[in-house]
């Protein structure tokens, strides 16, 4: 049996390895970040963050938790509207032209009594007025007063079926032009957030009818989460068991584009 000689790595070669290693490390540092953050595997690991955050926040928050409420003096002189500031479709413009008198909110999905409600019907539901903060995912905030029907009251009137787990809001605005219609704005929340005391379908802002840039005639207010959860221009509300087969399947327009479904931070 022939003995294979033990390889002896000469010093020069070792230096070569070192140089190559350093060069590799350098280029890794430069291009590595780009490659790492482009990898699906890495982004699916990073997504665990949203699970931990939701678990932890649900653990410490009671179902009756109330976001800080402010005084009238705190109301911002310059609020800001983000995303769509006017849906500007023929159908929406027609509704807006006569003060949304012909607008109807469709309530359906996994409910005992599907409903079609006018703005006046919604105004007759148990309501709540609150001065709360609006926190955008971009980092800015403003404080405003909102009044609206409690979502819990509306869902009680419709009667949720036992299999209902999420409430989906379909909106009148298209934020991105797509061929398959997945650019239509929509959002979803679960029943814990839907039943919170401050979760309202707002038709009034700062004492006036909800203006178009802020989601007329009806928008969601859920001050325990970030702005993109609070769907504007709501046309239809569905109770569903899962949102996997809605649009691109992540539970909302921004969620379909990488943002966290749970937006408590």
């Amino acid at each position: 049996m022939a003995r294979t000689p033990r390889p002896v790595v000469p010093l020069a070669s070792r230096r070569g390895w070192l140089a190559r290693g350093l060069a590799a490390a350098g280029s890794l540092a430069l291009s590595g970040c780009a490659q790492i953050s482009n990898s699906d595997r890495v982004s699916s690991i990073l997504d665990w963050e949203t699970t931990w955050t939701k678990l932890a926040q649900r653990l410490v928050l009671s179902r009756r938790a109330i976001a800080p409420q402010y005084s009238e003096n705190d109301i911002s002189k310059e609020p800001r509207s983000n995303g769509t500031t006017d849906p500007d479709t023929d159908a929406y413009n027609a509704l807006a032209a006569n003060g949304f008198k012909d607008w109807r909110l469709q309530v359906g999905g996994l409910v005992e009594r599907p409903m079609s409600l006018s703005l006046d019907d919604i105004r007759r539901l148990p309501s709540r007025s609150q001065i709360t903060r609006h926190d955008c995912v971009e980092g800015w905030s403003y404080v405003a007063q909102w009044k609206g029907a409690r979502l819990a009251a509306l869902l009680a009137a419709a009667g949720l079926k036992p299999s209902a787990r999420y409430i989906v809001f379909y909106c009148a605005d298209t934020l991105e032009i797509t061929l398959d219609g997945t650019g239509q704005y929509y959002e979803s929340i679960d029943l814990v957030d839907a039943m919170r005391p401050q979760t309202i379908l707002a038709y009034e802002m700062n004492g006036q009818t909800l203006p178009i840039p802020y989601g007329a005639p009806l928008r969601l207010r859920l001050p325990l989460q970030l702005g993109y959860k609070m769907a504007k221009y709501i046309m239809r509300i569905d109770a569903v068991e899962s949102f996997r087969d809605i649009s691109r399947g992540h539970g909302g327009f921004w969620e379909d584009r990488g943002y966290a479904w749970y937006a408590g931070i």
Binding site: N38, E49, T50, A65, Q225, L226
Partner: protein, 261 residues
């Protein structure tokens, strides 16, 4: 070798204690950083790096800072950049291109690791009395703070027996960073969470509003970045190989080589 007068130089030569090793060149290897401290140091360094670059990615989404509860869009306290392009360039953000959603995932993922490992370290350091033994300045030590500061500026670092322990300036800066700035990052970060504000109403009150907390978050990050630069300069001045060996293996070499006067 000369016997020399029994002056300060001689008395500061380290004496060997149990568990310490005398190197062949006469210097003394002291076990200075236990494994948990070294692990936390490097994990924390990684976290702070990712948090900084992903934090700048997030700041790029709205590069303005305010004080109070809400944003005064026409009069921000601080505004970065001028035009429409993001002010923080791609080489210092994660991901390098503009992507707020991904930046937030990076940031919050590493924020969890940062907070969990920091808490583990803090519990260990307090329970093992390491904070009291190694980090809290001894009585009278603070009086030498001025001299310690001047020595640092002249790049003169304690040698010999005195090098067994952190010097007063080191102790104070580590204490401020570990038990001041790092927890402040977590608290201001949590204050930006609308859900956490609903659970802990004192959070926004403590910092004077969510936007103030966001501004303090940024300023504290800048202070930590400045600490990092000074930390690196000190490493280079005090001997990078010796210091790196200490924080990698735990063994810190003190004293003089044989034949050095």
């Amino acid at each position: 070798m000369d016997a020399g007068p029994p002056g300060q130089e001689r008395s500061s030569e380290p004496r060997v204690r149990l568990g310490e090793r005398v190197l062949r060149d006469g210097r003394l290897a002291v076990y200075r950083h236990p494994l948990i401290v070294r692990l936390w140091h490097w994990l924390n360094a990684l976290c702070l790096f990712v948090l900084l670059v992903s934090g700048l990615q997030i700041l790029n989404a709205h590069p303005a800072l305010y004080w109070g509860s809400s944003s005064d869009f026409t009069n921000p306290w601080l505004h970065f950049g001028g035009g429409d392009s993001p002010p923080f360039p791609s080489w210092i953000t994660l991901p390098p291109w503009q992507d707020l959603a991904a930046g937030r995932h990076w940031h919050l993922f590493f924020a969890w690791i940062f907070a969990a490992s920091g808490l583990t370290y803090a519990i260990y350091a307090i329970a093992s009395r390491r904070v009291r033994r190694e980090l809290c300045p001894r009585r009278g030590e603070l009086r030498h703070l001025g001299r310690s500061f001047a020595d640092h500026l002249r790049l003169k670092f304690p040698e010999g027996e005195a090098a067994r322990h952190y010097n007063p300036l080191q102790k104070l800066s580590y204490l401020v960073v570990i038990f001041g700035l790092l927890p402040l990052m977590v608290l201001t970060g949590l204050t930006m969470s609308p859900a956490m504000d609903a659970r802990f109403h004192f959070l926004p009150l403590m910092f004077g509003g969510r936007q103030s907390a966001r501004t303090v978050h940024f300023l504290t990050a800048c202070t930590i970045a400045a600490f990092f630069v000074i930390h690196l300069l000190a490493l280079l001045a005090a001997g990078p190989i010796r210091e790196m060996r200490a924080i990698l293996t735990g063994w810190f070499v003190i004293g003089r080589r044989k034949g050095e006067s």
